[in-house]
Symmetry: C2
Subunit: 170 residues, 2 copies
């Protein structure tokens, strides 16, 4: 199982960014996402995508993030531009037993997170985006296998060189 914990979500400011974190998580094979702040609108948006496009991704908002990290039975990876290079760490992480929890913060992350995590991992040491960092980390962690996942949704996109093709099922 792979889960993502989103820290520091502020409903108005991070609405779209946290939605992107959720959709990238779903598309790249994550099973569950936790968000520290309660946000029913975000939950609805994510449920609507799952309803149409399939898969069994779930989201829970308003969690106690300390509890989630402390009680996690498996490896805990915090993505931060200050961490060790992800290419060095990812193989070791992949070999660990148990489930994977990936922690992604908004702008400021409590220093406690650095201590509670087993790995603090940087996807490049430049400021960029937790969305991109998460995508690149999950891509390496799954060795690109997220691309093989079948979602079996009501709507399925048919890859096409021009235009839009979709198959719709009831």
């Amino acid at each position: 199982m792979i889960a993502v914990l989103r820290l520091g979500h502020r409903i108005s400011r991070d609405k779209r960014v946290t939605t992107h974190v959720a959709l990238v998580s779903r598309a790249l094979g994550v099973d569950k996402m936790f968000v520290d702040k309660k946000d029913s609108k975000l939950e609805e948006t994510v449920h609507a995508v799952c309803e149409r496009f399939g898969g069994d991704f779930s989201i829970e908002t308003g969690v106690n993030w300390r509890h989630v990290i402390r009680n996690w039975r498996g490896v805990k990876v915090h993505l931060t531009m200050y961490g060790e290079p992800f290419e060095d760490a990812v193989e070791e992480i992949r070999e660990k037993d148990g489930d994977l929890l990936v922690v992604v913060g908004a702008e400021k992350v409590p220093s406690e997170v650095y201590q509670l995590s087993d790995y603090n991992v940087a996807v490049g040491n430049q400021p960029h985006s937790e969305i991109a960092a998460l995508a690149l980390f999950l891509d390496r962690y799954t060795m690109g296998k997220w691309q093989c996942k079948r979602f079996k949704g009501k709507i399925e996109v048919v890859p096409s060189k021009r235009g839009k093709k979709v198959v719709t099922r009831e």
Copy 2:
């Protein structure tokens, strides 16, 4: 040269998402970004990051996107969930002569973009994030070499397993 064209930017709604597109572009080796809508605040934010963290990334907002695509001397790649799989297309794209333009849209993209682009490429056929799609595409296109880029900024992060280490230069 690699450039990114951001389409459909709406100042209030996409402020943070377009900033993420810019920062990911910079971190993954893009030289220049174009944004269709004029947005001085976005330009300032990006300049401030370049000023502190280095590199020669530039941004131009308020461009005529049709002109940018039509006059581009090189290959034009539009990222869309409806396109052909990126893993299939990226090698062919890499071998093309001239500069690379990557087009990323917000929610709705004019159908003209599908026609004007040389490639319509999907980073997975699920709805997710143009930020993640751009990062994964650039990673494959550069074969991970973006990680070797040196930015020589005033602030440089020293990779670290715990906590934050930075070197500051004048």
